[in-house]
């Protein structure tokens, strides 16, 4: 018997008509499929590159290396306060415009103009070419023809997205119903940032798989609970409160009960002392919100603890009951490697004890993340053997099923094939 109500069809998977057959991971082990994903997905969809707090004042900028989309972009708040994005390339001879020390590393700062390191060409923050070294040596050069190449940039609730496709639909339309349902959440009050980065030896989708299901949690992370509690959790298993799917995006709503725990002996000594842990600081800060947006805790369950949203392709947003949030980004670097970024956002602490409470939540996340990362490398290596090529997914793994189907559908559309037909790629021999 399910602990929580499922849809009338008997399962979430059937409710969303995703099919219940086994799933192939062909899409995660092939260089050819990854190249198709770069063209069909990463150069076509809205990619979250940061938050407006990173552009605190006019002239603030940061760069993002978007290997998967085949470019580097610079995002800047111009002198009128407007957020803009450009390909990070000088129009003179193609040098990378904004970088420090290492050309392939990201950077940030504040400036009044961009100056190319190579020949000193200068650009205003609105992208206009303002200065050419020895301009009279050039031939009929009209500076207005050589501004920086713009990239589409739009904001949603303070999150900055770019899109390399000039014909893409507006961001808010793309993000759809799930995003609309959480508009108004006070993200802007949670400005205390802890950010982690890991280079992961797996396809980007496999790490999303790990974070869009909690079926693994009672097993892989068993030791993070006390022994008795861990046995109880494994016996109970995991069931979500609610799943939802809208277009390419999905969400899972999860129970909590650990911030604070029902029984203090369920958690480790440091958690008891600091009143904090993986689910966040138990004493939720005041965020001045009487009622959460309707898209949060969609089952309206009193047991609610956290909602995970996957905005396709690679941006996850986790909103926790004790008034904090977490983002995950998965930036592919090849078919079997990617860079993972996990960023925790808290209301700034008012005293040293609160700072320590947040430290515990952040460090706990790091310990779990390390466990997850290495498991993925183990998965990738065996998928690549192709010894087994079809895998059963359970109802609690619906978001994975949807993610892989979505990636395949984007590639199919890009190739001009009906969704659901096999991708034509050459299997590794």
């Amino acid at each position: 018997m399910p602990h929580f109500t499922k849809p009338d069809e008997g399962s979430w998977t059937e409710h969303f008509k995703l099919g219940t057959g086994t799933v192939s991971y062909d899409d995660s082990i092939s260089p050819e499929f990854y190249e198709l994903e770069r063209a069909a997905i990463f150069r076509k969809t809205w990619l979250n590159v940061g938050r407006v707090e990173q552009l605190a004042k006019n002239g603030s900028y940061f760069t993002r290396e978007l290997d998967s989309a085949g470019t580097s972009v610079v995002i800047v708040r111009d002198m009128k306060g407007e957020v803009r994005a450009f390909h990070n390339v000088c129009r003179h001879r193609g040098n990378k415009l904004v970088w420090n020390d290492y050309p392939r590393e990201e950077t940030s700062g504040t400036c009044r103009q961009f100056t190319c390191k190579y020949h000193g060409w200068r650009y205003g923050l609105e992208g206009d070419l303002t200065f050419v070294q020895q301009e009279s040596e050039f031939f009929d050069l009209d500076k207005s023809d050589f501004g920086l190449a713009p990239v589409r940039v739009e904001l949603w609730e303070g999150f900055i997205f770019v899109n390399l496709d000039a014909n893409a639909q507006p961001l808010r339309d793309y993000l759809g119903r799930l995003a609309a349902g959480i508009e108004g959440y006070p993200f802007h009050k949670m400005t205390q940032v802890h950010k982690y980065r890991a280079e992961v030896g797996s396809n980007w989708k496999l790490f999303i798989d790990a974070f869009m299901e909690f079926y693994h949690a009672p097993v892989l992370h068993a030791k993070q609970a006390t022994a008795e509690e861990s046995r109880k959790l494994q016996g109970y298993g995991y069931e979500a409160l609610y799943y939802d799917i809208d277009g390419p995006h999905s969400m899972v709503s999860s129970w909590g009960g650990m911030a604070p725990p029902k029984d203090i002996n369920m958690v480790k000594p440091i958690e008891r002392l600091l009143r904090s842990g993986l689910f966040g600081v138990w004493d939720a800060p005041d965020i001045g919100v009487d009622e959460l947006p309707l898209g949060l805790n969609p089952a309206r369950s009193p047991a609610w603890g956290e909602d995970s949203f996957l905005f396709f392709p690679n941006f996850m947003l986790l909103i926790w009951k004790p008034n904090w949030y977490l983002t995950y980004h998965y930036w592919p670097t090849s078919y079997n490697t990617h860079i993972f970024e996990g960023t925790l956002y808290f209301v700034p602490p008012t005293n040293a004890f609160e700072r320590l409470q947040q430290e515990l939540a952040a460090v706990t996340f790091r310990e779990y993340g390390l466990q997850d990362c290495n498991t993925l490398e183990a998965t990738q290596s065996m998928l690549e053997t192709r010894v087994v090529d079809s895998f059963p997914l359970c109802d609690q793994e619906i978001a994975l099923r949807h993610l892989h189907a979505t990636a395949r559908a984007y590639v199919a559309e890009h190739q001009g094939r009906p969704a659901g037909t096999p991708v034509r790629i050459t299997a590794a021999s």
Binding site: Q192, V193, H194, K195, Y196, R197, A198, E199, V200, K223, Q224, K268, P269, I270, L273, L274, T343, P348, P349, T350, N351, A352, F353, E354, R355, L356, E359, L360, A362, V363, T364, R366, E367, G369, L370, Q371, C373, N374, T375, E377
Partner: protein, 108 residues
């Protein structure tokens, strides 16, 4: 010249754990034996229990150098609590060559 606030002078032998950067605290954990981690944990944990009220009165704006170091030391306790309370070894089990780096952390 004391490193830590006077009330915490018993923790002076562990002042080398007062490291401002999370990755440095993590590296020191990995470079320590379980005996060293347990000894530091036992000393720091009992003081943190007693220090809770004090820490709630310490504002982060204009925090004194002594309180700052005390907070770094307790942040090391947080890092060390995992090997001592959970893993029974300095490393996260099965984490192999994976690394998870702190690239932005709020300065104390």
């Amino acid at each position: 010249m004391p490193i830590l606030p006077i009330a915490f002078s018993n923790l002076e032998p562990f002042a080398d754990w007062a490291l401002p950067a999370e990755d440095d605290r993590y590296a020191k954990r990995l470079a320590s034996t379980m005996d060293e981690l347990q000894t530091f944990y036992d000393a720091a944990f009992s003081h943190l229990e007693a220090a809770t009220e004090h820490l709630r009165t310490v504002r982060l704006d204009g925090i004194s150098e002594e309180d700052k170091r005390l907070l770094w030391l307790f942040a090391s306790l947080v890092t060390v609590s995992f090997p001592v309370e959970v893993w029974r070894q300095p490393r996260v089990p099965d984490s192999g060559s994976s690394s998870f780096d702190a690239i932005i952390e709020p300065a104390i």
